[in-house]
Structure formats: C-alpha cells, structure tokens
Symmetry: C2
Subunit: 146 residues, 2 copies
DNA sequence: AATCACGGTAATTAATCTAGTTACAGGAAG
DNA sequence: CTTCCTGTAACTAGATTAATTACCGTGATT
C-alpha cells in the first residue's frame, strides 16, 4: 500500500548530485550513500534521465543535473519514477448487478482522486533545492553539537 | 506502492450493510457483491468490528452498523483496516557518514507527513453516508436511461 | 437434543511487486 | 588496447496481498 523507496532513493540521488557536484560520481559511490547496489542506482538514473532531470554519458562517472534543483519539485520526481500510479486502488471487478457493486468503483474513484491530488499538491510545493537546503541545515546542527 | 483493496472493499462492505439492511446478510452474499471470497469478507468484518464500526454475532447472518454512516468518514475506515501505515516510505538505512545519507531520512519524513496529512484531510471530509448517497444517485441515473 | 447454517480464524498457496545480484555488451579515457 | 565505467537484461529472494481449505464454535430450527 505504500510508495516504494524508489521515490526516496531518487530524491536522495538528485540531492547527492548537487551536494557533491564536480567530484567523481560513480554509481558505486552513490550506491554507498543510499546503501543499495550500483545497479539500482543506474536503474534509477535511467528513469531520471528519461524524465529529463539528469544527463549522463556512459563510461564517465559524471552524471549531472539537467536543470536547476529549484525547478524540480518532489512531485516531478514522483512522476519520473512512479509514473501516474494511484495511491489508492479500487477493486477492478465488483458485481454489476448490485446497487453497491455496480456503482462503487465510479464513486470511489472520484474521492480517491481528490485525496491523491491533495497529496500531490503538497509534493509540488517543495523543490529539491528546499530539500538540499534542509539537508545542509541539519548537517550544520549536527556539527554544532560536536 | 498502492493501498490494498482492503480499503475499497471495506467501504463497499459498510455501504452494503446500509443499502441492504434488514435482509439476510451472509458473508457469502456480501462476497458475491465485492466478488471476493467469504473468508476475505469475514476477515474485513473482523477488523471493522474491532474498530467499533459494526457489530456481528456468530451464527446469525446479521452484521449491523454500530453507528450512523454519517459518523464514519473514509479516514476512519482507512485507519480501521490499514492502521497508521505510511503512504510514502523512507529508506530505513542510508549512510550516516554522508551529508545526504545522514540527514535525508529526517528531512523527507516531514514532507511525506505533510503530503499524507493532506490526503487524509480529504478522506476525513467524506462520510460513508456521502458514499451511499452517491451510489443511489448513480443507480438512479442508470435506471433513468433504461 | 440433533441438525444445519453461518461466523471466526488459522494455515497454506499463488500472484505480484520490490530490490538485490550476476552477467555482459558498449562507451570513454589514458 | 586496457581499464573503468554505464546501460540493461536475467535471475533470485523477500514481502505483501488475497484466495483457498479446513476446522471449531455459535445460533436457530425442529
């Protein structure tokens, strides 16, 4: 019932590209930050490249952001890696000869869409630049304690 | 990544109890409307009974609503059958020695919570009575065409 | 009381999805 | 040409969901 970690991992990946821009960014290095396998990272980069969020060239260890992070919202990333998947799912087949079964799908669909739209509106409000800003603030807090 | 059909099926079930109240409501009959198995229906009824939404007595075919449908929101049903599960999931382990990996979980958690809260607020706005009203309207439309 | 219908629940199975692993072809750079 | 890397496919393992089978206990009817 939940969104896969592809979403979180993709945000992680994009933020990583920004924070460590200029360095040698192999899929192995990125994977060690996410704590997953390099293949998973490459698969994610494939989707993100397809969505026009990053640019990569095979062989080089230099994936780069294709646009400013301030122009990429969480929702953009969500669509890039999860497509237009629905958060809530209606039962595909219910008894059409029943007042409930024959109409429930249409009725629920509308309310589910409303709920998902509300969630997506929140995701759209936050850019990846906001995420990176927060990461740096959190990091600064940590270092201040030490 | 999606919410299981338990949620939809439970709404279906509760609406069914209202629409066909007074009739002989076996788990078999309810299952035939949802087009699932009677065991699934009984399992759902177990959760709904546990949440105080319905009352059942073994042996009799008479599950009844424990409160007015107008007092049951979609969110109430969601919690009853899905618990407090998160729609979005953060990667449980990321590299703590990295600016990104060490802070991304905390940062994302907050934005995910905002998105989920927004979705839940929509679900809370709709009562099961609204659903039943809509079902009857849709049914009337169908019959008017014929 | 005996019987039958039904709910409550556990156990098993199958299907689906996710993510990790291995493997390999091809590009880039020294 | 050699080495490091990306892009992908194929396979495997684990988790989740829902269907099925099975069995016990309750309630109603006679």
């Amino acid at each position: 019932m939940r969104v896969s970690t592809r979403f979180s991992d993709s945000i992680h990946l994009l933020a990583f590209l920004k924070v460590y821009a200029g360095e040698r960014l192999t899929s192995d290095l990125i994977a060690s930050s996410i704590e997953t396998s390099p293949v998973v990272v490459r698969r994610l980069m494939g989707k993100l490249r397809h969505a026009g969020l990053i640019a990569t060239t095979p062989g080089t260890a230099q994936p780069v952001l294709a646009k400013p992070l301030s122009d990429i919202s969480l929702l953009t990333v969500f669509y890039a890696v999860e497509g237009d998947k629905s958060l809530f799912s209606v039962d595909p087949k219910t008894n059409p000869d029943c007042i409930v079964g024959g109409n429930i799908q249409n009725v629920l669909q509308q309310y589910y869409q409303d709920a998902q739209t509300a969630a997506e509106a929140r995701l759209a409000k936050t850019s990846l630049q906001d995420i990176v800003d927060n990461l740096l603030v959190e990091q600064a807090k940590k270092e201040a304690v030490q």
